[in-house]
């Protein structure tokens, strides 16, 4: 089966720093795939490369077997890959409903429409409201996004991404700063996503990762360490060393590979 998402030897160099160094990953359709690694492992940069926010220095990104390395970010979204941001990135002066409507109207191909009032588009408004219910913000649709709490913003972030009806959704540390109750609710949300939606997840909370993911990839210092089932990853000596920093932290300060 063609992988939903594949990265082949992608690298991103910022001057001397190799933030992502020849990483190769393959994500099968419908999987819940987590990317973990200590701080500075290159997780967020890898996300930016896959989403198209950054162009890879070298390597290729493939969506459903098609090379999208040189495709712009907004066109990749149209092909079905959507990301959320580590630090909530929303439309703060708009209402919560308008935030999801921005995604829903784009997906419906209505965003160039200049005449018909948005509020009269019952199909879109209904869809937006349903998305908010799905993430648990149904009551808050009239609030300004800027007035939401941190946890609520994380929920809205997910609703905006789902509003694009992605085939691959990339969640960048979705549970960061969430309360245990919010985290539990979020885990259920991901579990309940349709099984044909592929989820790629970066997360620090390893309980969340091992509870949700069926495949886990570990990055360390920009390099791919291993990919396996949660059990395999938990048992790996290498991974424990990376996290505990047994021998490796000096590499962070070394200028280039020897």
């Amino acid at each position: 089966m063609t992988p939903a998402l594949e990265v082949r030897a992608v690298s991103q160099h910022f001057g001397q720093l190799k933030a992502v160094d020849e990483v190769t990953l393959s994500v099968a359709p419908g999987t819940r795939h987590a990317v973990i690694g200590p701080n500075g492992a290159g997780k967020s940069t890898l996300f930016a490369l896959i989403a198209g926010t950054l162009r890879a220095t070298t390597g290729h990104v493939l969506l459903d077997g098609e090379d999208v390395t040189s495709v712009s970010e907004h066109r990749r979204v149209r092909r079905g890959i959507v990301r959320t941001f580590q630090h909530s990135s929303l439309f703060l002066s708009q209402t919560v409903l308008d935030n999801v409507l921005l995604a829903a109207q784009r997906r419906a191909g209505a965003s160039w429409s200049m005449l018909r009032p948005l509020r009269k588009r019952r199909d879109l408004v209904g869809e937006g409201q349903a998305l908010l219910e799905q993430v648990g913000l149904g009551e808050r649709h009239r609030a300004r996004a800027g007035a939401l709490s941190h946890g609520e913003r994380r929920q809205l972030e997910v609703a905006v991404a789902l509003g694009c009806r992605p085939r691959v959704v990339m969640l960048d540390e979705p549970a960061a700063g969430m309360s245990p109750a919010e985290t539990a609710r979020f885990s259920r949300l991901v579990t309940d996503l349709p099984s044909d939606v592929t989820v790629l997840l970066v997360e620090h909370d390893l309980d969340v990762v091992f509870g949700l993911a069926d495949t886990v990839s570990v990055l360390h210092l920009g390099r791919h360490l291993l990919t396996g089932t949660p059990t395999e990853v938990k048992a790996s000596e290498e991974v424990q060393q990376a996290y505990l920093g047994a021998a490796d932290t000096s590499e962070l300060f070394r200028e280039t590979a020897p």
Partner: protein
């Protein structure tokens, strides 16, 4: 009374006052109000970019000038029918914006502001130099009075010209109001709030911003056509830096992002510059400066940001 009822009453009262005005005030005053309406359309154009799309601009005077000179040319050579002039001028403004906009679109924020300032200055200099079109610094005179609809008499009285300008103003204001409530309007506000995220939701944001720039250009061009119809004389000074700066000032006074605020701001600016300034031996600019400082200190969100008790209570419910 609910907020919507209050709003409707205010709108109706404003309309009644605007319609009754020529019967109450003298010819000079009514021509000042006509200029206010022209300036209000220009302020709406600036606000569409600055307040809605988040692109602060000092260049709309250029497209205003394109509209004014196009209006003068069309009126002297083609037709004196106002709506035809209006459409041609708006198209000319949009076209000029489409040609110059891509240069400005490379930047955002202050660099964008600087590029639009340059566009405005280039247009101003060009208006003075291109004698064969603009008749240079002497100005373009001999423009026939405007005919509101084919078959009607030319409008020679200030009061009648005022009604023509008022009708055009209301039409353009309504068009912008519809635009802002549409999905496209929401997308523009999305650019202002968070362009990077909008791109990540799948929008080609530069194309949206450029379209907004062209629509603002069309509005400024239409304002130029209204200017020609009221003044029947166009000179490079009508499109100088001062015009662009005052339009931006009107938007700041009115409250960035609010269309009615921009119109009230434009009326205030013209009132002070043309009317009160006349009584104070040319101290209009000084008064405008004082007004600007007072507004920025006392009303950081402009006139539209003044929250009445009723409005605040609604915000609390939603917060």
């Amino acid at each position: 009374m609910s907020p919507t009822v209050v709003k409707r009453v205010v709108v109706a009262a404003t309309l009644v006052v605007l319609l009754a005005l020529p019967w109450v005030v003298n010819a000079y005053a009514i021509s000042t109000v006509s200029r206010m309406l022209v300036f209000a359309v220009l302020a709406v154009s600036v606000n569409l970019l600055t307040g809605v799309t988040g692109l602060p601009t000092l260049g709309q005077s250029a497209y205003f000038g394109v509209g004014a000179y196009t209006g003068a040319l069309v009126a002297t050579t083609l037709t004196d029918v106002g709506p035809v002039q209006l459409v041609i001028c708006a198209a000319a403004g949009a076209l000029a914006a489409a040609v110059t906009g891509p240069v400005a679109m490379r930047a955002r924020g202050v660099p964008f502001l600087m590029i639009t300032l340059a566009i405005g200055e280039i247009a101003y200099v060009a208006a003075g130099r291109l004698d064969f079109i603009t008749r240079g610094t002497d100005g373009f005179s001999g423009i026939p009075p405007v005919v509101p609809l084919p078959g009607m008499e030319p409008l020679r009285l200030d009061g009648l010209v005022y009604y023509y300008v008022l009708a055009v103003f209301l039409l353009l204001f309504a068009i912008v109001a519809v635009l802002l409530r549409s999905p496209f309007g929401l997308a523009l506000r999305g650019i202002r709030d968070n362009e990077a995220r909008l791109r990540a939701v799948g929008y080609p944001t530069t194309a949206f911003a450029l379209t907004s720039y062209c629509i603002a250009g069309a509005l400024a061009g239409a304002a130029g056509s209204m200017w020609t119809a009221t003044q029947r004389f166009v000179a490079p000074g009508d499109m100088g830096f001062q015009v662009a700066a005052l339009a931006l000032l009107a938007v700041v006074i009115g409250g960035v992002g609010s269309m009615w605020g921009a119109c009230v701001g434009a009326a205030l600016v013209v009132l002070i510059r043309d009317y009160l300034g006349g009584f104070l031996a040319g101290q209009g600019p000084l008064l405008l400066g004082i007004l600007f400082v007072v507004v920025v200190y006392t009303l950081p969100h402009g006139l539209a940001g003044v929250s009445w008790p009723r409005r605040r209570s609604r915000e609390e419910v939603s917060a």
